[in-house]
Symmetry: C2
Subunit: 260 residues, 2 copies
């Protein structure tokens, strides 16, 4: 049973915070749903980027839009070593480090692949536990269609998670690539067979072109599409956001009685 630690409703969308206990740790989670939601509905899991947290502005805004426009439930959790799982000072330091890499001012450290692999290993059971928990909610339900959205670290964690989680029916990934030596990540990508939309920035300081092509090629999905745009890591054009909406509506439909 989920015990909500905070609930608030604004502009037609309810936001509820809760914790999930996994391997002795409390994982902070949030679920957004339309105000007064009753009955089962499609669910989208959103994985935040490196140095961000479960309620980062762009993610929360997208979640609220999906709840309002499509009647979706949207679930997010703090990744290992992120959000409410670290102090404000640690979060600020992390944001500085990641920011410098994304702006091309600092090299990607040699240890990052190992760090990401470890984070993903911890995050996979956490995502599963959070998903188990919300499927028990009357206003989410067990039999709904489920999608995953996550770019950058949301892909580094999302690919192993989606590969290991048969409940996910479609996924948006992006801003990440396949590095030589990362065999576990490649195997996970190959094991994915659901529809994938993969967004990639052509001048990304942290994901070189060939790594992006490599990841796209690795996905085992019959339906997979790669959207390449000019610009840096943080410069995904707005029209890709509109494309994600249509991708999810195409594969998950909308909640009963709602037009897309």
């Amino acid at each position: 049973m989920i015990e909500f630690t905070r609930e608030k409703t604004a502009e037609g969308v309810s936001e509820r915070l809760f914790d999930v206990a996994v391997a002795g740790e409390r994982v902070p989670a949030v679920i957004w749903t339309p105000e007064g939601a009753r009955g089962h509905r499609p669910l989208v899991l959103m994985g935040h980027g490196g140095s961000q947290h479960k309620k980062i502005g762009s993610l929360a805004a997208r979640a609220r839009t999906y709840a309002r426009k499509f009647g979706y439930a949207v679930l997010a959790i703090d990744a290992p070593g992120h959000g409410d799982r670290i102090s404000r000072e640690e979060a600020a330091r992390l944001a500085e480090e990641v920011g410098a890499r994304v702006r091309g001012e600092a090299a990607v450290p040699f240890t990052l692949m190992k760090t990401m692999t470890e984070r993903a290993q911890r995050a996979v059971p956490e995502w599963k536990a959070a998903l188990d928990a919300v499927q028990g909610l009357e206003f989410v339900g067990k039999h709904q269609r489920i999608g995953y959205w996550g770019v950058s670290m949301g892909t580094a964690i999302g690919v192993p998670f989606v590969a290991a989680e048969p409940r996910i029916g479609c996924a948006v990934f992006g801003l990440a690539g396949l590095r030589s030596g990362n065999d576990a990540f490649e195997e996970a990508a190959k094991a994915i067979s659901i529809p994938v939309e993969f967004v990639f920035q052509w001048e990304d300081a942290v994901a070189p072109r060939e790594s992006g092509m490599g990841l796209f090629n690795a996905f085992g999905s019959k339906e997979k599409t790669m959207h390449i745009n000019p610009g840096a890591h943080v410069e995904i054009p707005n029209f890709e956001g509109a494309s994600w909406e249509r991708f999810f509506v195409r594969h998950l439909g909308t909640a009963d009685g709602r037009a897309a």
Copy 2:
């Protein structure tokens, strides 16, 4: 002044045939508009593929949809050596040749690049003349926004045309690439600065991956997006058609009083 040789209206869309005289040749053209259209409206020029013609099923269906949904005018012409400019026997032979190449059963002939270059050289003034002609129509107009759509040969001709035609404000290209030695085509791509959506098939027998990446990289546009999908030349997924609609509506708007 355009003299229409045939007019018919079905399901809310009028189709009018006419000829344009260019360099002593009559170029067969067609324009689709909403039934009873009055006043200026956005215009999309659609360039058909190799061995096809101006009223090929998929193109005509898309034109009718654009007229009906967005209030657009849509213009198409027979490319040099295509459609009503050749006999039925010649057209059947051409369809067989191109079909074999597209299915990977026949190699792309060494002379094709030269043939395409010559076709494009002839087609550019023909497109310009057809555009001049329809801009004189009260139900199209001179000051509307104009887009171009054309994949495969529609890109081989469209890239030099759009590079040479400042009236075009946005373009969908695809299923074509940059071959070494095709300097004029590369220069044309570099000269294009309008928004471009470029669709590419990852197992295309007539456009290898590296040629597609090369053409995408060559476009001079600040806003350019490449959509890569698995499959052969003729297997563009349906959702790309929906993406083209949104691309044109984003850049051209819709005719007055119509919701997209």
